[in-house]
Symmetry: C2
Subunit: 733 residues, 2 copies
Amino acid sequence: MNLFYLVPIASLVALFFAYYFFRNMMKESEGTDQMKKIALYVREGAMSYLKQQYKVVTIVFIVLALIFAIMAYFGLQNNWVPFAFLTGGFFSGLAGFFGMKTATYASARTANAAQHSLNKGLQLAFRSGAVMGLVVVGLALLDISVWYLILDYFVDDAVTSHKLIMITTTMLTFGMGASTQALFARVGGGIYTKAADVGADLVGKVEAGIPEDDPRNPATIADNVGDNVGDVAGMGADLYESYCGSILATAALGASAFAANPIMQKNAVFAPMLIAAVGVFLSIFGIFLVRTDDDADMKKLMNALNRGVNVSAFLIAIFTFGILYLLGFENWIGISFSVISGLIAGIIIGQGTEYYTSHSYNPTKLIAKSGSTGPGTVIISGIGTGLISTFIPVVAIALAIMVAYLSAIGFDVQNLVSSGNLSMGLYGIGIAAVGMLSTLGITLATDAYGPIADNAGGNAEMCGLGSEVRERTDALDSLGNTTAATGKGFAIGSAALTALALLASYIEEIKIGMMRLGQDILTFANGDTLKTGEATFVDFMNYFQVTLMNPKVIVGIFLGSMMAFLFCGLTMNAVGRAAQEMVDEVRRQFRDIKGIMEGDATPDYARCVEISTKSAQREMLLPSLLAIAIPIAVGLLLGVAGVMGLLAGGLGSGFVLAVFMANAGGAWDNAKKYVEMGNYGGKGSDTHKATVVGDTVGDPFKDTSGPSLNILIKLMSMVSIVMAGLTVSWSLL
Amino acid sequence: MNLFYLVPIASLVALFFAYYFFRNMMKESEGTDQMKKIALYVREGAMSYLKQQYKVVTIVFIVLALIFAIMAYFGLQNNWVPFAFLTGGFFSGLAGFFGMKTATYASARTANAAQHSLNKGLQLAFRSGAVMGLVVVGLALLDISVWYLILDYFVDDAVTSHKLIMITTTMLTFGMGASTQALFARVGGGIYTKAADVGADLVGKVEAGIPEDDPRNPATIADNVGDNVGDVAGMGADLYESYCGSILATAALGASAFAANPIMQKNAVFAPMLIAAVGVFLSIFGIFLVRTDDDADMKKLMNALNRGVNVSAFLIAIFTFGILYLLGFENWIGISFSVISGLIAGIIIGQGTEYYTSHSYNPTKLIAKSGSTGPGTVIISGIGTGLISTFIPVVAIALAIMVAYLSAIGFDVQNLVSSGNLSMGLYGIGIAAVGMLSTLGITLATDAYGPIADNAGGNAEMCGLGSEVRERTDALDSLGNTTAATGKGFAIGSAALTALALLASYIEEIKIGMMRLGQDILTFANGDTLKTGEATFVDFMNYFQVTLMNPKVIVGIFLGSMMAFLFCGLTMNAVGRAAQEMVDEVRRQFRDIKGIMEGDATPDYARCVEISTKSAQREMLLPSLLAIAIPIAVGLLLGVAGVMGLLAGGLGSGFVLAVFMANAGGAWDNAKKYVEMGNYGGKGSDTHKATVVGDTVGDPFKDTSGPSLNILIKLMSMVSIVMAGLTVSWSLL
């Protein structure tokens, strides 16, 4: 029990350093009055969007919490669920809010710092990114430890092993709150930012021929606001969800895998929390490693960033051995290797992403080259490359799953899916995900500082700071893209592993639901009976006949695969519609407001911000609510087997689709940049125009639909888990 | 046994009518010398491509047959397998060859007939399409009945019920031959035709501003050849594969579902063959219904076509009741309703496709409208619409699966997945697929006549026949697109159901493989034992632990989902590369050969034909061989559970991806046509140019990658089935 207190301590330390970095950043100068003014515009736009967003989401949360309360009243859930759900959503929103607040204060300061040197710019942007990283992990561990202490105090169960299972599965509900908030943040923010971005690019860059972030472009403020609400607030909520999800799912698996041994059960529940807590200290250590001389060049800066990330990741692998040994795991070596398999998979995924999306390598260069035959071939080769790029991540994750599982069960291949091994193996998979996210404090910093640098560039451009500053912020931005690869690999890989762990938690929750409803005896098809409380995962799989030949499972797989596609389609079309509205408005302003192009008149920025806000709010509801409604509907129609199929199909297809969209989008973006660097005709050539079309298509791929998919997969699992009681008592088939 | 002879009789009748329609077509005039010359060019180009293609494929077939022979030598397969495999490939190739021969003879004749009236053009093109339809079903039933008779004569097994299981699973091998041939035909033909099409459009239409099929375009002959080798020969081999696959998979399921009752076992094997045989007669009846007055307008023509298709489909539903009753099925009503559920699902899928891809409805109109903001938004909204369009087909197929299954087991919901019900239910699903394809004789005619009309238009354009003829052939083509909806719905839906039936056949083949290798006793994890020969599907699922929580199954699902994406990526990029070569060559000719644009010099058509041929041959190998290699590799590494996961993941994700690609491609094509009809600025406007980009991207979507996916899914199953012996004896995990 003593070790547990490391978790709240780590949380407070993370929040303290977040505050410390924030204060230091605020001490820097925001630059000229003009820079302050622009930054204020963006900050106000972003905050007003977030307010609007939280209003809508609050209504959704209240409705869902009421449903849970009603379910609890009828014994379909326990009474803690509505509250846990609400706090998960609240903290997730808070993480996004703080992250965005920091980012919007940091952008002008970064631009100002970049006037001095590349290193100063890096330090400011990176430390601001670190605020977000530390806020996310700090709030997550706070939420986790407070809820654990509350539930530990109040939950009362005669059988000790039941108590921890109750506690951990209840805590999963706040994972659902976090996932719901994250999906809205990603979808709403994603639509907002891409509507503004696509709209600004199509009219500004392509039609009017003015540069990115030119103050004459009416959509330019909306575009910069979008970077904040989409890339910063959306990403914050997203990773808060991933981080909590992996820890909570693994804790729940630990509670059931070690149910036979009360002491080890508790330790198995603590293990993921402790790995995360130690990861916080290592992240802070890593953040302080990111420093270099003031006259450092790009290479030195990159080395500094990589050093921070790699040292933390390496150390967490080492420390895991120690943590698991101290907690008394019999197979501490094996489970540590589960964590290492996850870390290696994450690095491979990151490197694969890098290969397929960076313009240092052939695939992206070939996309740029295909621009010489027009936008059609750019799109074809981008889609082709994106589809092919799914190979490496899938093989990496497949290997990680097998190795994490096998190594957690001590390579007991003969009894691969025996009752004991199944829960141990899944615990190994879950803890591999925790390992990948444990250094989120620093990996998120490398990810979040990109949008800050991007916005600093926007500020520099709008205030006419001179091309040198813009070049530096661009360099910082592209540096961020490269160094973020590992962090992104961890985020993508952990999503797949966490979703898998949630699949197992679902069975656990079904068991609890049945016991709560008094279904104490399982009667199998062959007449055998078994006490529900004593049934293992394997027994439940047999009882619900979750084999691949069950038509309900097959139908579930079809529906799950389709859900991923449908969801992306809805968000893609939402961006398309919103972007068209934006294009019409920007064209109207160029036409109606005389003197914009000459710089004599100020465009109506506010109108564009309003359009983005309204369309994002309008369009985010349907796809997000579908993600909640479909698992419930499938549960009611097809029961447990159908839901398991849905989740497995959604996981397989959704993961691959997410990788495809992210990589195709990234490759198009960099192909365009490669041409802009002067290749194949350079800026203004027909090839360039063709690659701009690719970039436009890639925008919603990589920043709206793609990143939302990871959340979708997990949210569907979470919803199924929370609604398990409903499925058990009402399912039609 | 007497009823069985209906199958060879139906086969001969089909081939007779095919010959009869072919002779009648050949009697018509091919038009002017110029028309003959152009037709000859296209015919020669197509034939020379097919020869080249068959050479490469023959080598692949010989290598695979040798591998099977070696496997048979070591007792991993029976001795018939290599021969069955070869005939399947041979007949599939033959179906493509005859279909293409007919189409290339028919195009100039159709152009000539269209000079007289729309009806004359329709009759000629449709009857030529019918040749292909009847050749496909005739050859398939011939192959099936001859092999059945041979194996019935030679196979000797003490236990009667084993004999039929041996026969039907051996016959599945020729399904693998057909699938392999079909995949090569679709991929090779698809790359050929789209390289030529995209190349011709990009330089001819977009850069030089000359119309489609203009004789000044050096790629125009290659383009017309492509329509034949891709849309005609590829489609023929494809549907030959689907047709055989559905019948053979269902026969194999019948043999195992009714193993307890020798008479019913035989009848259950005959049932799918007989439904197909009766379907032949109904198709011929339907073909003769397609006639109208000589002064008929489009509406009348459409009604005539629909009448033919709908009457056949309606009658096969009725006749199924009779066939199953005569064969003595206890639950003949239930199984007939399985067939009806399949037919209804096919119709819904067809209507859904129609809604999302026809320019009579909003989705496609909105894509056209989005052209006003450039190609970027056209691509975004096309992809969005395509992704959303997966909803209807997936829900339709999910309902069909549940209804077909439940109705075949007499709605015995309590014992949904009991041993007896599982094989009965799967038999119901298989026979639903057979019902959908039973009237292929006519539905394929409505599908295949589109490319013939398209080619007729090309011929008319190149020979300067006047715009009226071109308008008529265009009208015929677009009529074909509309009426083909039902047929396409049947083809897509049946692919999913057949793949599902093959999943079950895989287990059957594993059983046979184990018995052949002397693994006569299954020892379960809990120590229970069971004779392999007496184990049911359910026992095998338990023995191999094919539950959704088995990490091997999960990894399989990931790999299967990825395979569909990877395969599409490879074919998309192949088209992209080949198209770029073509673009470079066409640009070179315009530049180097003086007087092309003025019509004074003839372009070097042959060079473009050669480029398409070479790139198709070069590029088709990798994706096709992957489809064969991956299931073998997964079988060797992850065993039966991994393969089942691979097939289920590939099925779910591949089906959805196929629908997405087909519908997005169709919608882009028709959005462009909608603009060309004078909407949103009409031909030559910027909106038009934007929609041409959409069409270019859609070409490989709908004609290369999308249609190949259906074959890929089934081929992976077939390969797993044929390689089952290897998996059983050598699997690592």
